[in-house]
């Protein structure tokens, strides 16, 4: 029995952080700031936690980052400045929306590339197939026809 085995948290779906609603009561000078605050707390990842944003985490570091965010918003920093500030300290890791640079470009372009490839493959396959569409009225092979006939016969007997 290894130690890690014993220590493993044998729980099926246990959020590490206690399930306590995080409710900060910051008063904003402008409702627009509150909206941005709400959005940014959801885009910033709590560095210490499991997979949680700083809006949902009760970890002390998340509280600190929320306070920092609040102060920066009130001091008039732009979203870009705030994100840069966070990334400079905690790394790209804190961004739930990876910036469009470096390796993350691959991430952002993947869906588009996949879509283009998939559409391309389908069009190619159809082009190859369509000339035969006219000629192949017989859609089932002889073997399939036999199978189907048997099934249909059986079901007639049944009903």
């Amino acid at each position: 029995m290894t130690k890690s085995y014993l220590l493993a948290i044998l729980v099926f779906m246990l959020p590490i952080a206690p399930a306590v609603a995080v409710i900060e009561t910051y008063e904003f000078s402008d409702p627009a700031l509150e909206l941005r605050y709400r959005q940014l707390t959801q885009e910033l990842r709590c560095p210490k936690c499991q997979n949680q944003n700083i809006a949902d985490s009760n970890a002390p570091i998340a509280q600190d980052l929320r306070l920092l965010l609040y102060q920066q918003l009130e001091s008039g920093a732009s979203d870009g400045e705030i994100l840069d500030h966070m990334v400079a300290r905690y790394g790209e890791f804190v961004r739930y929306r990876p910036s469009f640079e470096g390796a993350a470009i691959v991430l952002w372009l993947t869906p588009l590339v996949l879509l283009l490839v998939a559409v391309g493959v389908v069009i190619l396959a159809l082009k190859r197939k369509s000339p035969r569409a006219e000629s192949s009225d017989a859609t089932l092979s002889a073997e399939e026809q036999r199978q189907l006939d048997r099934m249909l016969r059986d079901s007639e007997h049944g009903s």
Partner: protein
């Protein structure tokens, strides 16, 4: 004694599963009818012993047998009996046992309900399913034995079930989800059996389609319940987080959605055969991959599992055998099952291809996004996080791309259709849908382009469906005759597509129009959110069976009329000392009102309170429910029931595979 008995039953089940894998497979290779005919009996045998084992674990939980490790870790004598029962699968080992129970149930169900299958096919299908069973049962016996004892030193009481799991939604969420996950193993087994035999006859799709639709329906329900549970128990108003564990259940769903459509084309037209086979492999592979992701610890999730590299390695090896093996088989045998059928560009086949393209790309996008942090870490590119902002940004446009085609799908004809017919059928729905989008959001609140778009898309879906239904009914002598002529499988599609429209509206309306307000409130204070007046009347201590709590009592008024009392709680569970926020929600078709308690603020009786107004959030879950109902309805269709009638006739006479 009972735990040992359960353990022993599990071992017998395991041995039977090995026999189920080997003997019918050997029979199929040797064309030995006796060996093949053993398969159904063996499948039922596995089910019997796994069930006994499962019952033993249930008994251990219900009798508070704290000598069993999982019981100690996940139960408590104060726990209400219903949660003692659900605690059986509220842990890694027990959930695996539930998984195995469901797998053996599906296997036995195939054995019982598919007797009209050629024996050779049935033997292959059951052998494949038996092998999957061997994998999970050996995983349990070797790394995660649920019956392990705590010896010596039996604790007086248990650590209690995680309070989050003490919830009605969580009693049925895992079983439903597993029904879906594991259900795809049937489609998978049929696909492998077909590749193995080297021929996919026309009947193949008809046999595997009902199983796949049922599995997909269960998976839909499971995901829906998970989202609903997160909404009121964990998310504080959020309902989908794109967490790896959520994605692990969502990916098989996306692939399964492609599969059930592709299967329709295969059944009706004998088309896309090798593609459908690949999708069937893909859907179940993603179920297995999900199991790996959530139990191996390679990704960080807010849901912690029994993550252990040893277990991770076991699942990975199993994954390599099953997925690697089946893809190798596919690569070698796929040409043998390729379709020889053609169709025109303007046809239902093309639209099904559109569906498949979108769902496949969505699946791969979610897969890539989920694993991207792992890829980057493995390549030494640093630590990345891919979260909701990314997934929403890429997933929403993909789904929006789907809907225009989705509206045309039901109207279109197989093989050959004309653009002119589409125009004459759908021009009116299209115009009305756009008009709906332009005008409807005006009634709700300020004009919002996203809501307008969503309403247009949803209206397009609904109107084209209604147009199609009307067209079909009109062709009959009378309306009632026309309605009667419509098959259950058409109704299933109709309801499921309507459900999808409801989902679109719900998702967009709730994300665009929700109002959330976090504030400090004193007893007696009133706050207005989205026109509703929330009055905090008092905060009182209350006690539950295994917790104590502070309860905030709210009265909510609208236009001076009191509409509801809400009482959110902040609980402290006695056994674990865990603190839990229990939100209270006034649910409604058009809006939810949601109140949750944070912490006390200062010493003068004020609390941090979250007030939420969530419009149309129920539409999402209602839509998912409709999709599941639709999937189940298609299975009741006459042409599948005929198979059953035939079976009873056969049972009376000579069994097809009889000695």
């Amino acid at each position: 004694m009972i735990p040992e008995f359960g353990h022993f039953a599990l071992i017998i089940g395991f041995v039977l599963a090995i026999i189920l894998t080997l003997v019918p497979a050997w029979g199929a290779l040797q064309n030995n009818i006796k060996a093949m005919a053993l398969a159904p009996g063996l499948a039922i045998g596995v089910l019997v012993f796994v069930t006994i084992s499962f019952i033993c674990l249930c008994v251990a939980f219900l009798q508070d047998d704290f000598s069993v490790k999982v019981v100690t870790n996940n139960s408590n004598s104060l726990l209400p009996p219903i949660y003692k029962f659900s605690a059986v699968w509220g842990n890694h080992e027990g959930s695996l046992l539930l998984w195995s129970l469901i797998l053996s149930s599906w296997t036995a169900a195939v054995a019982v309900f598919s007797r009209q299958l050629p024996l050779l096919m049935l033997a292959r299908v059951l052998s494949v399913m038996g092998f999957i069973g061997v994998g999970f049962l050996s995983f349990m016996l070797l790394t995660s034995n649920p019956f392990e004892r705590m010896l010596p030193g039996i604790p007086a009481d248990g650590n209690d079930l995680n309070p989050l799991l003490q919830d009605p939604g969580l009693i049925i969420h895992p079983p439903l989800l597993y029904m879906g996950y594991v259900g795809f193993s049937v489609a998978f087994a049929f696909a492998i059996a077909a590749l193995w035999g080297g021929s996919l006859d026309a009947a193949w799709a008809r046999w595997s389609r009902p199983w796949t639709n049922i599995a997909w329906g269960f998976l839909t329900l499971g995901i829906m319940l998970g989202s609903w549970w997160a909404y009121y128990e964990l998310g504080w108003g959020g309902w989908w987080f794109w967490d790896p564990v959520e994605n692990a259940s969502f990916m098989p769903w996306l692939a399964g959605t492609a599969l059930i459509h592709s299967l329709a084309a295969t059944e009706k037209r004998g088309l896309f055969k090798s593609w459908t086979v690949l999708l069937a492999i893909f859907a179940f592979s993603l179920s297995l991959l999900g199991t790996f992701l959530v139990r191996s610890g390679v990704l960080t999730s807010v849901h912690a599992f029994a993550t252990d590299p040893e277990r991770g390695l076991f699942i990975l090896v199993f994954l390599m055998i099953v997925v690697g093996g089946s893809l190798t088989l596919y690569a070698l045998r796929a040409p043998a099952v390729a379709s020889r059928v053609g169709f025109e560009w303007v046809s239902r086949e093309s639209l099904i291809l559109c569906n498949n393209v979108v769902f496949l790309v969505s699946t791969l996008t979610v897969l890539f996004g989920t694993l991207f942090p792992l890829f980057m870490d493995a390549l030494g590119q640093g630590k990345y996080s891919v979260g909701p902002p990314y997934f929403n940004a890429v997933f929403v446009p993909l789904m929006a791309l789907l809907v225009p085609f989705m509206g045309v799908g039901p109207v279109s004809r197989w093989k050959r259709d004309t653009v002119r017919r589409w125009q004459s059928e759908l021009l009116l729905p299209a115009i009305v849908a756009v008009l709906c989008g332009l005008t409807l959001p005006l009634f709700e609140a300020e004009y919002n382009i996203w809501v307008a778009l969503a309403v247009s898309l949803a209206a397009w879906l609904v109107l084209s469906l209604v147009r199609d239904l009307w067209y079909r009914v009109r062709q009959a002598v009378s309306v009632s005759a026309g309605l009667r002529r419509i098959t259950l499988s058409y109704w299933g599609m109709f309801i499921a597509h309507l459900g999808f429209a409801a989902c679109i509206v719900g998702v967009v309306a709730t994300s665009q129009y929700s109002v959330e307000h976090d504030l400090k409130m004193y007893p007696g204070q009133t706050e207005v959110v989205a026109g509703y007046e929330f009055t905090l009347v008092e905060i009182v201590p209350v006690a539950g069976p295994n917790y104590v709590a502070d309860e905030a009592r709210f009265k909510v008024f609208s236009d001076g009329q009191m509409i509801v009392s809400l009482a959110p709680q902040k609980r402290r569970y006695l056994a674990s000392g865990q603190i839990m926020t229990e939100a209270d929600i006034d649910a409604g078709l058009m809006r939810d009102l949601f109140v949750a308690m944070g912490e006390p603020v200062g010493d003068d009786g004020a609390w941090a309170i979250r007030l939420h107004y969530k419009p149309m959030v129920r539409w999402m879950w209602l839509g998912a429910l409709m999709m599941a109902v639709g999937a189940f309805a298609t299975v009741m269709d006459k042409r599948y029931r005929q198979a059953r009638i035939r079976r009873t006739i056969r049972a009376g006479g000579r069994e097809q595979y009889g000695v």
